[in-house]
Symmetry: C2
Subunit: 307 residues, 2 copies
């Protein structure tokens, strides 16, 4: 194998072209330099994915692992109603796998970055005897005071979720589409009061909105849009539980006023399902209401990162 150094990988990345924003000086200095657009706010997030924890080879490929590392960050920008702008990529590469593996990981990142007009602003590449670790830090842009937070839900708000839920870990988690465009369409159609992306599971992520907003919620169990990734062989109760708590769906969970909720229900502006699943209440915690009207506590059954 030809000797292959960090500098050469960086040269290869630069030679690939890719998105280039006029207000960003990217790879090539100690830092990137971003001139923020007037009247804008910057959205900043980061996610680290580790081989063996967030993906395994197979079913993942190096391209899909790279793709996912950017996709989860794009999903965070979507959840704020923002526009992705640029990303910083750090890699810990397994030394044994060589330069083609490194390029494949970067290719997966760069292809998705191109799709979402995200410039590769910089990064850090390393190799070691451990498994693949990918960290992406993302920069998004929102109009001043227009970023959509978790804290804006109000009693009476209708709760919506995009797409369908459950069973993502069987493979969807490697190929999901971050809901950047859907968030933009929704943002331009209605006033979104609060929003989060469903990464840990609906039950868990809804709780973040409730806690930050100081409100409660009632969710209608029969309204939960269960994904075709959830096996039809399971009991209805088990299927519902998976939709509520599997995580890694990366759909948008948001609230709007009842009037605007009605508009969304009458005419879905998206090309994917959009489901009214419940209401925000003045109480605390979340209740799950069955078809017969009885309620149970929507336990916080989502994925928790056990340290």
């Amino acid at each position: 194998m030809t000797a292959f150094h960090e500098f050469e990988l960086i040269q290869w990345i630069r030679s690939q072209g890719g998105v280039s924003h006029s207000n960003l000086l990217g790879i090539g200095d100690d830092t990137a330099i971003l001139k923020p657009p007037a009247n804008s706010e910057l959205l900043l997030a980061t996610d680290m994915l580790m081989e063996g924890a967030h993906f395994t080879f197979p079913p993942a490929t190096p391209e899909l692992a790279g793709r996912k590392a950017l996709a989860v960050n794009l999903s965070d920008i979507a959840a704020m109603g923002g526009t992705p702008h640029s990303a910083l990529v750090s890699l810990a590469l397994p030394r044994s796998k060589g330069p083609e593996f490194a390029k494949a990981v970067m290719q997966g990142i760069m292809d998705l970055a191109a799709e979402f007009e995200t410039q590769l602003a910089g990064g850090d590449t390393n190799s070691w005897d451990g498994p693949l670790v990918i960290n992406v830090a993302i920069i998004g842009i929102a109009d001043q005071s227009q970023a959509i937070q978790r804290s804006g839900a109000q009693p009476g708000d209708w709760i919506f979720v995009t797409g369908t839920l459950g069973g993502s870990l069987d493979s969807h988690h490697l190929t999901f589409q971050p809901r950047v465009r859907e968030a933009a369409t929704l943002r331009d159609t209605v006033t979104i009061k609060s929003m989060i992306d469903v990464s840990d599971g609906l039950a868990s992520d809804l709780q973040h909105i409730l806690t930050e907003s100081g409100v409660g919620a009632v969710i209608q169990s029969r309204q939960i849009p269960i994904s075709h990734n959830v096996s039809p062989d399971l009991t209805d109760a088990k299927r519902l539980q998976k939709a509520l708590s599997d995580g890694e769906d990366f759909e948008l969970l948001f609230t709007v006023s009842p009037e605007e909720g009605q508009r969304l229900r009458d005419q879905n502006p998206l090309a994917i399902p959009l489901t009214h699943i419940g209401e925000i209440t003045a109480g605390q915690g979340a209740l799950l209401q069955q078809a017969d009207g009885s309620t149970t506590s929507l336990e916080n059954t989502g994925w928790k990162h056990q340290l």
Copy 2:
């Protein structure tokens, strides 16, 4: 051991207080929200440190590993003449080491962040069966068009380096002071034409300035400030070579006009050594000039990340 989850570590981090900038909404939503100061530019960089590659336990402690992960990023901001503002921290924590280890890593980060008025804006904590991996993405601020790039060196410029060089890997690399304040003092005293931090070794990092600026350089071998970390038992030639190529010094290497260089040499505005080591030339590549006037090529002997 009590069950310990990501959410609880985040709560602990939030409970520690720390730096809080009025223009940044930090931990607690899908992304942080930064309102950029008027007439400013943002500096963006990232570095990933892996146990076994960038540090080992011992001599490192979890606090020192965390400290270093932020320090190398602060050094990048210093190299642009910027002011650190905020940081995003991602952790892959060895599951076997438990919550106290996680807190110790964060403590090392937070203590240095406080020292450099850097807000912890967000992050991602994970655990796995692998070694510790820490990624920091940093956001710095520079006045509009005032960020100091590698590309501004001109023939005739004097080349300076802060501090002393060599032998850092014997322990200095865990405890070095990022030269943020020194860069600010220099920036306010003279016009810095080009600058970089010495992470890979002077020979290697100087080459980045030369390449990006399209110039050459002559370095005076007897002017190189050799650190007391370099063993006095080595030959003079070996000691010089270590100072030129060891890396991990995180000192500042920069160029100024001869007039301003004279001022810096007459009166060092810093509390640390500041050494005039050579000049920028109109040629290509770097020459090392011996005391007798003879020159050799300053080979690119710096650390290269072999993938």
